[in-house]
């Protein structure tokens, strides 16, 4: 992977990417979406870092449904 340096980008384009991954901006072009992935990982890391309180347990019924859905999807894919 070759990390892209934001300071070499057009500032307005970079602002659009940041707004996009924070959920503020409009839909982006394919090229910009590829570039946005690095920012998406950064914002995901931030989200994890901010989760300072204990996690809420996943409800048991939801877990059962998720497992059944996963089985169906994996069966289709194999």
């Amino acid at each position: 992977m070759t990390p892209h340096r934001p300071d070499h980008r057009d500032q307005n384009a970079d602002d659009r990417l940041v707004d996009h991954v924070l959920g503020f901006g409009p839909e982006l072009s394919v090229d910009e979406n590829e570039e946005a992935e690095a920012y998406e990982h950064a914002v995901a890391a931030l989200h994890l870092a901010f989760l300072s309180r204990p996690l809420d347990p996943l409800p048991a019924e939801t877990r059962v449904r998720l497992r059944e859905e996963a089985k169906s999807i994996l069966d289709q894919g194999t």
Binding site: H41, A45, L48, R67, I73
Partner: protein, 192 residues
Amino acid sequence: MNVNLPVSQTPSLLQRVASGDAAAVQEVLDRFGSLVWSIVRRQMNASTAEEVVQEIFIDVWRSAPRYVPERASEATFITTIARRRLIDHRRRVGRQPRHEEIEETLPEPMDGPNPVEVADEARVAVRAIEQLKPDQRRVLKLAVVDGLTHAEIARATSLPLGTVKSHARRGLRRVRELLEARTLNQLGEAGA
């Protein structure tokens, strides 16, 4: 689903999912189910959250073949998917997220038996957050965790809209820079 791996490499959890390993599905739910549920519940009620969590995990199962361990931890990969689906959901229903209390505290270091612990990137992000000014930190948290818009953050913090935007952008760029530096270091160590 197929996933290509070198013979000697132990597959990650998501790579096992991509290979159709049902036990790996259970492990993913055990390790990351509460994480995804908590992220989503922060922004909506339980009944809507269930629907969105289902969408997120369907995406996780389908995206598993695209997971590359060198690019992100599994926690970050799954959180990225969760965020995308949350944003999609907000756009689809045209409804603003639920906003709970505004916390002023710094995130705690990730220690203890927590699923988040597996995300090295989160530790990098904590370092970046610690370098930010309190207003910048607050703006980022409202944007990232609570899903507020720029305008809502401006109202909640009494900061000018332009300041809110610059705080959010600057903070996120700082995290990205630190993550890139970490990746470069890892690549350098791997190549040494």
